[in-house]
Amino acid sequence: MSYNAVEEWSRGSSPLHRRAAAAKLFSLTVFLLVLATAQRRLPLLAGALALILIAGFQVASIPPLAAMWRAAAVLPFTGLFAVMSWMSGNPTHAVELMLKSYLSALTVLLLVGTTPIPELLGSLELVKAPRFLLTVVQFLYRYLFLVVDEAAHMRAAAAARGGMTFQAASGALAVLFVRSHSRAEAIHRAMTARGFDGRFRPLFEHPFGAKDVQFAAVAAGLPLLARVLTDWYR
């Protein structure tokens, strides 16, 4: 999966990587809020935010162009609606759609490009996301690539035989389902063998230091400043 590149990025050691995930999550939220609620002079604000993000990618040693290319995946879907808006006589809305959806994707990419997913999930507990749900996400993430690879093999094998019929595809899904279920049972055995008693205990405490506060102040302050300036500048 092409996600491997982003995972590589997330295992870097830049100053951004070393900041607490909670601080980055906070900054992401501010960024997205600033973007989502903006109405005036959007292209100007978008430009400013883009510059901030690109600077962020640079600090994180992530090639900005690669990131910007990856974020562009949202554009075809958005483009459809943008075209409809334009043709309905509302070009501003069309531009708004494109800019907002693209920059939002780029912001999320900066977050996950500098924070390994397990760490990010741990910080979500701080915002009171249900622990059970987060544990499910954790296991989903762990086994995602494994199960997807199994499916990819099935697909390749079928392609070699000239493609699957509807019935064969249902059979394939049923097999995948059963295998996934068996795997879950085997995982449970492995957990029991190592003393699992129904509770997952966290290994990492998530320290939040002075540097993280400073970072959050800057990372949230910059988009807010940009927004204030573009809103009120005459």
Binding site: V108, V136, L144, V148, A169, V175, F177, S180, H181
Partner: protein
């Protein structure tokens, strides 16, 4: 349909986030059964299964193929609460890891696909899954699940002021209908294949009074959404409806709060349904 950030107006995404959070919490508590977290790996792995399953193409004629969405299949094998948790986990991973679907819009996507989609997928099975209508019930579940989430998403977009000329609307609704039929067919086929391998996987639907609440909830949601969608085909368009409610930008006037009222009704019904469910299991 995963709604990216930037599409929904602030009142809409904020309200939906506010609705989705307690709904997700409720589903998580229901699925967990107390303090035992040992089902988490199963749900996680089944979430991975759904991702993988979406890669398998089902030929549906003339060079096109569809794929499983999964809400209904999860609902009749894991139960609606667990299915809801799995779908929520999937949506979270899609938004964060693949930037497929927005982060602020996550509430909307969760409500559409993990809550309403799952409930709509489970309801027919709950009502008719025991008798001779079983296969039809499973088909209906798959179809309703996709239809409900798509119509709801469309309604949210229209309420936010996203423009959709009538022909595009017609095409979208047509596509929704086709996707719904495909999902119904795939869900029915996979459940059939599963039962051949091992009947135990597909659970027997439990009888109960909460059916009425779910039925009310789904109907209300679909009425509200459908109302929004079809109102948009009127000459004045849905923007007017939204303007009156003050939740989208341009200016005009119409009957206003239908969409907002619908949302409020959903919330109340979810709450009521939650109370009733809890009482039933106590």
């Amino acid at each position: 349909m995963h709604i990216p950030d930037g599409f929904l107006s602030t009142p809409v995404w904020a309200a939906l986030d506010a609705l989705a959070a307690p709904a997700a919490g409720f589903a998580a508590r229901r699925a967990q059964h107390g303090f035992d977290e040992s089902k988490a790996p199963l749900l996680g792995v089944m979430g991975a299964f759904v991702f993988a399953a979406q890669m398998i193409n089902f030929p549906v004629g003339v060079g096109t193929s569809g794929h499983l969405v999964g809400g209904a299949l999860l609902a009749c094998t894991l139960g609606p609460a667990a299915a809801s948790v799995v779908m929520t986990a999937i949506l979270a991973i899609q938004a964060l890891v693949f930037q497929d679907g927005g982060v602020l819009a996550l509430g909307a996507n969760v409500l559409n696909m993990a809550v309403v989609g799952v409930l709509a997928g489970y309801l027919p099975y709950h009502l008719w899954g025991r008798g001779r209508m079983r296969k039809a019930a499973i088909f209906a579940g798959g179809a309703f699940s996709v239809l409900a989430s798509a119509v709801l998403a469309l309604a949210e977009l229209l309420l936010s002021g996203v423009h959709m000329p009538a022909p595009a609307m017609g095409i979208s609704l047509g596509l929704f209908a086709v996707s719904a039929l495909i999902e119904g067919a795939i869900t029915m086929a996979v459940v059939g294949a599963l039962e051949k391998i091992q009947p135990g996987f597909v659970r027997q639907p439990a009888p109960g009074h909460s059916v009425l609440v779910s039925a009310l909830g789904i109907t209300a949601v679909l009425l509200a959404a459908g109302g929004v969608v079809f109102a948009s085909t009127s000459p004045d368009g849905i923007e007017h409806l939204a303007m009156q409610a003050g939740i989208a930008k341009p200016l005009s006037s119409y009957g206003g709060g239908a969409g907002v009222a619908g949302t409020g009704l959903i919330f109340l019904l979810l709450l009521a349904g939650g109370r009733l469910w809890r009482k039933r299991s106590a």
